[in-house]
């Protein structure tokens, strides 16, 4: 009986702790949302929690003065094309590492894993020089799509996933005379769909929220992505446009929340891959 009583206490504490924690987790979202409907002075006056006279003026100003639609489109198509290309190349590489034996495979795999530990900042300076002087890619989406297109984490993730693709199925397709690339497209990709979805969500999210590299290579406002636009609303002390910033922040979070609520399962599968097995 005493043990059960203790459990009840632990349970009560657990619920209380989770409630406090989730309040902490949710509060910035709530504050972002209520502030986005407040005029600039009211955000700092702090007399009431909810906006006294809710206004959409911040949202309107964001679109009229800062061409937010264009920046959302930039973010969307950069994230979209980077995701499609990366997922495809990672699936291709992962498939080769999982289902073929070839000379140098283990060495190549080790090099690939080791490359994951190189921090981006180490290559940032020369990569920027390269983008500007060799490719002329400053103010274009290419630096955000091409260099990271076949990334090591993605190939590693897809390899783990492809290991479970049945060899019999592949051999059957070979006997039917399908080309290796045809097998990849028509047999492997469809069976790996859940894995592709996980990877796609992770890549899309990373690209959508990316800041450091776009800040370096997207110089002129019409080319900005959403996080860079938000950063550009920053001014000298007291002059940062927090009203427009909060409206923009709300809009930047919404697509991610939609993705999360519909595809949560895939996202979590992607995050946990490697933590247990690897």
């Amino acid at each position: 009986m005493r043990a059960r009583h203790g459990d009840l206490l632990v349970k009560g504490v657990a619920y209380a702790a989770l409630t406090v924690l989730c309040a902490f987790m949710l509060f910035p979202f709530v504050w972002m949302l209520v502030s986005s409907f407040k005029p600039f002075p009211e955000i700092f006056a702090g007399r009431t929690f909810l906006p006294q006279e809710p206004t959409l003026a911040n949202y309107v100003a964001l679109f009229e003065r800062y061409d937010a639609l264009r920046k959302f489109w930039n973010s969307f198509y950069i994230a979209g094309s980077a995701t499609v290309l990366s997922v495809f190349l990672c699936a291709l590489g992962g498939y080769a590492f999982a289902k073929f034996t070839f000379p140098g495979r283990n060495v190549m795999f080790a090099i690939m894993l080791a490359s994951m530990t190189i921090p981006f900042a180490v290559m940032m300076v020369p990569l920027f020089v390269m983008m500007r002087n060799v490719f002329g890619w400053i103010d274009t989406p290419w630096p955000l799509i091409i260099p990271g297109a076949a990334n090591a984490f993605g190939i590693f993730f897809m390899r783990q996933y492809m290991l479970s693709v049945s060899d019999d199925m592949l051999d059957a397709a070979r006997i039917d005379g399908a080309s290796e690339f045809g097998i990849f497209l028509r047999v492997v990709l469809p069976t790996a769909l859940p894995g592709l979805a996980s990877l796609a969500i992770i890549f899309f999210m990373a690209s959508w929220n990316n800041f450091l590299w776009p800040l370096a290579v997207l110089r002129s406002p019409p080319m900005h992505t959403v996080p860079i636009m938000l950063n550009s609303l920053q001014g000298p002390p007291g002059r940062t446009a927090f009203d427009l910033l909060m409206a923009g922040s709300v809009l930047s979070v919404i697509p991610m929340l939609i993705v999360f609520f519909f595809l949560q399962r895939y996202l979590i599968a992607g995050i946990t891959a490697g933590s247990v097995k690897g």
């Binding site: 349970k11 657990a14 619920y15 702790a17 989770l18 924690l21 987790m25 910035p28 979202f29 955000i43 700092f44 702090g46 190349l89 291709l92 590489g93 080769a96 590492f97 073929f100 034996t101 000379p103 190549m108 090099i111 690939m112 490359s115 530990t117 190189i118 921090p119 900042a121 180490v122 290559m123 940032m124 020369p126 990569l127 020089v129 091409i146 260099p147 990271g148 297109a149 290991l163 479970s164 070979r174 006997i175 990849f184 999210m205 800041f211 450091l212 370096a216 959403v226 996080p227 938000l230 950063n231 920053q234 909060m246 922040s249 930047s252 979070v253 991610m256 995050i271 933590s275 247990v276």
Partner: protein, 313 residues
């Protein structure tokens, strides 16, 4: 579960052809498909990682403002870097930040994962989603929101504290409080991520282990400290390693929340590399900085690995 032996992976037709002719070119032809499939990674890796890293080494022995001719300066950049207190201060800041948020975050992640594991609590999916939600947010958006909330004079945090009768806190205006504020933002953003990793680890622990301990009379807290945490060790190490790498790559959070201030208390190495390149146009110096930064991380990683493997003996 283990993949079938590799013989099935080599197409029958190719095996027949391979028996007749030999030579490196032929091997290349024989393995053309897998080599072709992995080539995008290695081509992109060579062009956009290996080459830049080598070029960076070259750059680090030169003085260059990004345009015009480079001036070879020998080891001058590295000599100056050794005495650059601002740079080493930024490295120290990363270390301090690591100790401010990683132990607390890891502990919380294990506790929350334990609470959300099994059928202990109701509404598991909801709690998990709420804890994870911040991780989806752009750090720029989150950073500005935190800056608004934590503002010493007009922020909600201090209003709430005053209302509770606690004296207000100089969240972003004091060196140590600013570090704590960055840590708070990091915990907010990364706790859910770490919780998910710990949850995945917990799922690999057989429930019989916990039940056996229960039968032997262990209470909830004892099961947690004596069974859960030790069995979770590999996963905890994985999460902490990710946190070390993450802390040394910090840029957006302090850049937006504190701008590196006050008095450079929250400035990170990546911020230093960024401003040397894009604000001061000292490309060669920034390159030497990124090398020193990289070497330090490698040394730290080796040290951590040593420490961990000694613990295993």
């Amino acid at each position: 579960m283990t993949p079938a032996p590799s013989t099935t992976s080599t197409p029958a037709t190719l095996r027949v052809a391979g028996a007749r002719r030999r030579g490196p070119l032929h091997a290349l032809w024989r393995y053309r498909w897998p080599l072709l499939f992995v080539s995008p990674f290695f081509i992109l890796f060579a062009v956009f990682s290996v080459y830049p890293i080598l070029y960076s080494l070259y750059l680090s022995f030169h003085e260059w403002r990004g345009i015009g001719a480079m001036r070879p300066v020998g080891t001058a950049n590295y000599e100056r870097l050794l005495g650059d207190r601002i740079f080493w201060n930024s490295m120290l800041n990363s270390l301090i930040l690591f100790f401010i948020y990683v132990p607390l975050m890891t502990f919380l992640a294990i506790v929350i994962a334990t609470m959300l594991h099994g059928n202990f609590l109701k509404l598991q999916g909801l709690w998990r989603a709420l804890v994870f939600m911040p991780h989806l947010t752009s750090m720029v958006a989150a950073g500005f929101t935190f800056r608004l909330i934590l503002d010493t004079h007009t922020g909600f945090a201090n209003r709430a504290l005053t209302w509770l009768g606690v004296s207000p806190v100089p969240w972003l205006d004091d060196m140590w409080w600013a570090r704590i504020s960055v840590g708070l933002l990091m915990i907010w953003a990364w706790l859910g991520y770490n919780t998910i990793i710990m949850l995945a680890g917990l799922q690999t622990i057989p429930t019989e282990v916990n039940e056996a301990a229960r039968v032997d009379g262990a209470n909830t807290v004892q099961v947690f400290t004596r069974i859960t945490v030790p069995l979770l060790r590999p996963v905890i190490l994985f999460a902490v390693t990710l946190s070390i790498i993450g802390t040394f790559q910090l840029f957006t959070e302090p850049y937006i929340l504190t701008g590196g201030g006050p008095m450079r208390a929250t400035e990170t190495p990546v911020m230093q590399i960024f401003s040397s390149t894009f604000a001061n146009l000292r490309f060669g110096y920034a390159a030497s900085m990124s090398y020193a930064y990289f070497l330090t991380i490698v040394v730290l990683a080796i040290l951590q690995f040593r420490l961990v493997s000694r613990g295993d003996r």
